[in-house]
Amino acid sequence: MLALIALFPLIGFAINGSWYAFFQAPQGRTKSGATIPGIIATTAIGLSFLVSLLLFFELKGLPADNRVLEQVVFNWMNIGGFSLDVAFRLDPLSSLFTLFVTGVATLIHLYSIGYMSHDATPGKFFSYLNLFSFAMLMLILGANLPIMFLGWEGVGLCSYLLIGYWYADMEKASAGKKAFIVNRVGDFGFLLAMFMIFEKFGTLDMSQLRVGVFALAEHGHQLAAADLGIITAICILLFVGAMGKSAQIPLYVWLPDAMAGPTPVSALIHAATMVTSGIYMVARLNFMYNLSPTALEVVAIIGGATAFFAATIAIAQKDIKKVLAYSTVSQLGYMFLGCGVGAYAAGVSHVITHAFFKALLFLGAGSVIHGMHEEQDITKMGGLRSKMPKTFLTFAAGWLAICGIPPFSGFFSKDEILWQAYASPHGSKILWALGAMTAVMTAFYMTRLFYLTFLGTPRFKEANGDDHGKSHGHDVHSENKHAGIAVHESPMVMVLPLQILGVLSIIGGFIAIPHMSWIEHWLDTVIPAHDPASLIAAPSMEWVLMSVSVVGAALGIFVGFKLYADLKKAEELKLRFAGLNKLLENKWYIDELYEATIVRPIHALSVGLWKGFDIAVIDRTVLGFGRVSQWSGQALRVIQTGSLQHYALVLLMGLIASVGYLLYGLA
C-alpha cells in the first residue's frame, strides 16, 4: 500500500514518457494538446494523494507511540557486510509531507493543463512532472539514507530537466545545468555524511540510526568528545546537502536562475516541495542535531542570515518570478532558523503553510504572465485588478499570508519561529532580530510586488481587440509586444487550483496555532517537543513579540503602499540610493564573485593541466623514450627509421634475452 504512493506517479511517468518517446518525438514537433497527457499525469498524482490520505487516517488510528508503517519492497544491494533495502517508512512526519506534497502537486498538475496548453511537447512535460513527484515521494518515504538520496538526486534531475525545459534558449539550459551542479556540491556533503554514519553506526537505516545515536548518548549524560565531534561533522555535512537543495547561503545561487523553467515548475519544485527537502531532512534527523549545539548553531545562523540576505535582494528585483524566488530563499531561511533553534515542528509548520501560499503566489504569477502574454517585468504591469479579478483575489490572500497578517496562514507559523528564535534555549535576541527585520522587509517587497502588479494604473499598452486565447504560445515569444497586450483572465482549470490554494492560505495556519498546534502534537513521536520550562524567556514575552511582528508587517505594508502609490517618488528614492539599489538589483554580485573565484580559476587550471602537463610533460617523456630507442637503433644501423617493426624487433630481442637468461642462466 505504501509503495503505491510512489508507484502511481512512476506509472504516469512511464505512460507519458513512452507516449512522448514512441509517438511524439519520432514524428517530431507535431503539436498536440496538453489535455490527455495532463489528465493522465494529474490522475496519477491524484491517486497518490488519495492513498496518502487513506494511510494518514490509518496512521491516525494507531496508538500514538506506535505510529509507523513500513514496507520493504526488495533488497537493493547485498554484499558482504553491507545490505540495503528499498524500503519505505510512513510516520507522522513523512505522512504530513506526503499529504501536502501530493495535494499541492495535484493542484499544480491540474493548473499545468491550462498553462501548458500551447506547448509543443506536453507528454514530455507531464512525464517530467510525474517523475519529479515520484522522486520527491521516494525522498520523503525512504526508510534509509540512500533511498532518500535517490529521491534527493532524482528531484535534482527533474529540476534540471524542467528548468531547461525550453532548452533551445541557451540561458535556460545554463540555468538548469547550474542548478544540477550547485546541488551536486550539496550532495557531496550528503554523501560524505552517509559514509561517516555508516562507519560510526554501521547502518544507514534511519530508525536504526536513531537507536544507535540514543545508545551513544545514554552511555553517560554527556557524549564523549570524539563522538560529539563525529556527530557535529555528520550534521554539518548533511546540512551542506540541505544548503544545496534548500538554497541556503552559500549555495542558494541556483534557485533564482531556476525561474527559467515553466511557472508551474517554479511553483511545485522551486517553491512548495523540492526546496523544502533540506528542512525535511534536518527535521527527520533531529535526534542527531539535538546532540550537537554547534551544528544547530550553524543551521540557525545560516538560516537567519539567508532569510535576511535574500530579502534584501528581493526588494530590488523587477522580474515577478525573481522576487518570488528570492522570497522563497528567504522563507526557507526562516524554516532553517526554526530548526536551528530546535523548533523543528515550527519549521515544518512553516514548510506547509509556505507551500500553500508560495504555490499560490507562483501560480498567480503564472496566471499574470499567461494573461500578459509572457511579460514578467512588474514595472510594466499595473492595474491588473480589474482585468484579472479572480487571480487578483487569490493573489491577495497569498500576499497577506506571506506578510504575516493574522489570521492568514503565514502568520502563525512565522510567528512561532520568531518566538522560538527568541525564547528557545538555542535561540538568541540577535537571531530574533534578524528574523523580525526580515519580516518587515518581506511585507515591504511583497507589497511592492502586489501594488506594482495589480494596483495603480496599467503601464503597458493595451490592445483594443479582444483576441485573447489565440496568439499566446509559450514557445512564441514577444509575438505581439508591439501590438499591445490583450490581458485576459486565465481559464477555469488554472483558476480553480488558485482558489483552492487561496482558501488553504487563509485557513491553513490553524493547524499551527501556537500552544494548541495540531502539527506539533502530531509530530510528537518523531520530534519531541521542547520542555516549556527550558525556554529562556518569560511566556508573557510571546505576546509582546507577536505584537511587534504584526506591527512590523503592517509597517512594511504601509510603507509599500505609501511609496508605490506615487511612482515618481519611488523613482526619486531609488535615485537617491542609486548605489545601494544597483548592488541589490545585481544581487550583491555574488554570481560574479563565484565566477571569478571558482569557475574561472578551475577552468584555467584545467586547461593548464591539459596543455602544460598532459601534453607537455607526460607525452614528451614517453615520446622521448621512444626517440632514445630510435636513435640507438639508427646508431646500430639495424633499421633505418622509427617504424613499428623496429620497436617490435628491439622489444622482441629484449624479450628473448630476458627469457633466455631466466630459463637458462638461472636454472
Binding site: A25, P26, G81, K177, V185, F195, L623, L651, L662, A667
Partner: protein, 524 residues
C-alpha cells in the same frame, strides 16, 4: 554436445575466431564483391550473438557457492617450463566474460554503416579480438594469460591503424609502445615467479593455483614482492589507464573507429583492473601493502585530474576518453582500499564503465557518421532535430554522472563507502569527482544538445534509425537494470570477491608490523 558440455569455456573462447576464419571462406562472388562483404557483417553479427548465447550457458552453469574455479580445463602444453593450457572461471571472470560477449554484437552492429573499406579483415580482427579478450578473462595459467593479453594487442593495433582517423598511425604506435613496455616487465616477472616455484616446490609452474601458494619475501621497496607487484602493476596500470600513464588513451580513442573505441574503453581497460584482482593482488599481498597508499593517491588524483582535463576538451571523443581516466580512477581507489564493499564497488564500476562509456562512444559515433566531426563547437541544438537521440544521450549521461537509479551510482557509492574506511581524506577528494563529473558531462551535453541550432548542416540531421535504436536499447536496459537490481550481479560475484579480499589481505598484518619496523628504522 557432450564435448561442448565439458569444454564450454574453450568453445566460447575460440568460437569467435574460428567463426571469423570460416567467414573468410565465404565466396566473395565475382560479380558483386561489395555484396559479399555485406554478408560478412551479418555473419559476424550472428557469430557474436552465438558467442553471447554460449556465455549465457556459462552463466547458467556457474554456481556461486561452488568451487572457486569452475568449468576448468587443463591440457599440458610446455611442461618443461610448467606452462599449461589451463582455463577456468570464477565470479570475477564471469561478469567480464558476459560484458564482453554482450558488447560485441552491439559493437558489430554499431559498425555496419561506419566501415566501408576492407570489411572482411575488419570483422575478422573484431572476432580475433573477442577471442583474445575472452581467453584473457578465463586463463588460469599466468603464461596463457600473457599470450592472450598480447594477442588482443594485435587486432587492436590494426583496427586503429587501418580504420582509424587522420592521425591513426601516431595513435596506434603510442598505444603499442605503451602496452608493450608494460607487458615486457610483466613477462620478466612471470618467469621469475615460475622459477621461484621451482625453488620452493621443485618444479616450474605457471598455474595460478600453484603460484598462490608461493612464499615470497616482502618488506621494503627492493623486496621481491614489491618489485614483482610493480612489474605487474605497471602493465595493468597502463591498461587501466592510471594517471600518469594514461596519455595513450585519448589519442587511441580519438583515432579508433567507433567499435574500436567501444571495445577499447569497455573491455580492454578492464583487463587492467582484472589483472590487479586476479594476479597482482593475491600473488603479492605484501608488495600490495607496500604500494597501497601510492596507488590510492594516484586513483584519487586520476578522478579529479581526468574530470578537469575532460572538462576543457574541444573534441567529444577526447572528453569521453578523459572521463574514462576519471572513472577508472574510482576503480583503482576501490580496489586498493582492500575491503569487500569497495572492491565489489570497484568491480561493479568496471562493468558500469563498460556499459556507459561504450554507449557514449556509440552515441558519438552516431553523430560522427552524420556530420564527420567530433568538435563540440560544431554542434548545438541537436535535441531539437534528434529528439530520440537526445533521450538516449541523456540517459547515458546520467549513468556517467552516477545518478542513483542508474548503474553508475551503485559502483561509485560502494567504492566511496568502502574507501572511506581505508582513507577518509582520499575518499573526500575522490567524492569531489561527483561534482566535476557532473560539470564536464552536463556542460558537454548542453553545448552539443541544447540551445538554438547554430550550424546549418545540423538542421536536418536524421534521428536514430532502427539499427541504431537496436544498438542503444540493450545498453539503456542495462543501465537501469544494473542500477536497480545489482543483486543479480552480486549474487554470482560475492564469494569470489570474498576470496579475493582474503588472499590479498592475508599478509597485511605481518606486513604492517614490518613496515612499522621499517619506518621506525628510517626514523632513526
Amino acid at each position: 554436445m557432450a564435448w561442448l558440455e565439458s569444454h564450454l569455456l574453450t568453445a566460447t573462447v575460440f568460437f569467435p575466431f574460428a567463426w571469423g576464419l570460416i567467414g573468410l571462406m565465404i565466396p566473395s562472388g565475382n560479380q558483386d564483391p561489395k555484396n559479399a562483404q555485406n554478408v560478412t557483417k551479418y555473419w559476424t553479427l550472428i557469430g557474436t550473438i552465438i558467442t553471447f548465447l554460449l556465455s549465457i550457458m556459462i552463466f547458467n552453469r556457474y554456481q556461486a557457492g561452488g568451487p572457486e574455479f569452475q568449468m576448468a580445463e587443463t591440457v599440458p602444453w610446455l611442461t618443461v617450463v610448467g606452462i599449461s593450457y589451463n582455463v577456468g572461471l570464477d565470479g570475477l571472470s564471469l561478469w567480464l566474460v558476459l560484458l564482453t560477449t554482450f558488447l560485441m554484437p552491439i559493437a558489430v552492429l554499431g559498425s555496419f554503416a561506419a566501415i566501408e573499406i576492407r570489411r572482411k579483415e575488419y570483422y575478422l580482427f573484431l572476432l580475433a579480438l573477442e577471442t583474445g579478450m575472452l581467453g584473457a578473462f578465463v586463463a588460469l595459467d599466468i603464461f596463457l594469460f600473457y599470450v592472450f593479453w598480447e594477442v588482443m594487442l594485435i587486432p587492436m593495433y590494426f583496427l586503429i591503424g587501418i580504420w582509424g582517423g587522420k592521425d591513426r598511425i601516431y595513435a596506434t604506435m603510442k598505444f603499442f609502445l605503451y602496452t608493450m613496455v608494460g607487458s615486457l616487465l610483466m613477462l620478466v616477472a612471470i618467469f621469475y615467479i615460475s622459477y621461484q616455484h621451482k625453488l620452493q616446490f621443485g618444479n616450474y609452474s605457471m598455474a595460478l593455483v600453484d603460484l598462490y601458494r608461493l612464499q615470497l619475501t616482502g618488506g621494503g621497496f627492493w623486496a621481491p614482492q614489491s618489485l614483482l607487484f610493480l612489474a605487474f602493476g605497471f602493465a595493468f596500470a597502463i591498461k587501466v589507464p592510471l594517471f600518469p600513464l594514461h596519455t595513450w588513451l585519448p589519442d587511441a580513442h580519438v583515432q579508433a573507429p567507433t567499435a574500436g573505441s567501444v571495445i577499447l574503453a569497455a573491455i580492454l581497460l578492464k583487463m587492467g583492473g582484472y589483472g590487479f584482482m586476479r594476479f597482482a593482488f593475491p600473488l603479492f599481498p605484501q608488495g600490495l601493502a607496500y604500494h597501497q597508499n601510492l596507488f590510492m593517491i594516484l586513483g584519487a588524483v586520476a578522478i579529479i585530474y581526468g574530470a578537469w582535463v575532460a572538462m576543457v576538451q574541444p573534441d567529444i571523443k577526447k572528453l569521453v576518453a578523459y572521463s574514462s581516466v576519471s572513472h577508472m580512477g574510482y576503480v583503482i581507489l576501490g580496489l586498493f582500499s582492500l575491503n569487500t564493499v569497495a572492491a565489489t564497488g570497484a568491480y561493479y564500476q568496471m562493468l558500469n564503465h563498460g556499459i556507459s562509456t561504450g554507449a557514449l562512444f556509440l552515441l558519438v559515433g552516431i553523430i560522427y557518421e552524420r556530420r564527420h566531426t567530433r568538435e563540440i563547437s560544431a554542434f548545438g541544438g541537436i535535441s531539437k532535430v534528434m529528439p530520440l537521440f537526445a533521450v538516449a544521450f541523456m540517459i547515458i549521461t546520467l549513468s556517467a554522472v552516477a545518478l542513483p537509479g542508474t548503474n553508475g551510482f551503485v559502483g561509485e557509492f560502494l567504492i566511496l563507502l568502502g574507501s572511506w574506511k581505508t582513507s577518509p581524506l582520499l575518499t573526500a577528494v575522490a567524492a569531489l569527482g561527483v561534482i566535476f563529473g557532473a560539470v564536464y558531462m552536463l556542460w558537454m551535453f548542453q553545448r552539443v544538445m541544447f540551445g538554438p541550432v547554430t550550424h546549418k548542416e545540423n538542421e536536418d540531421l536524421k534521428d536514430l534509425n532502427f539499427r541504431e535504436i537496436l544498438v542503444l536499447v540493450p545498453l539503456i536496459i542495462a543501465v537501469f537494470g544494473m542500477g536497480i537490481f545489482p543483486n543479480f550481479v552480486f549474487d554470482k560475484l560475492n564469494p569470489s570477491i570474498d576470496r579475493f579480499i582474503a588472499r590479498s589481505t592475508v599478509a597485511v598484518q605481518v606486513q604492517t608490523a614490518s613496515t612499522q619496523g621499517l619506518l621506525m628504522a628510517k626514523g632513526k
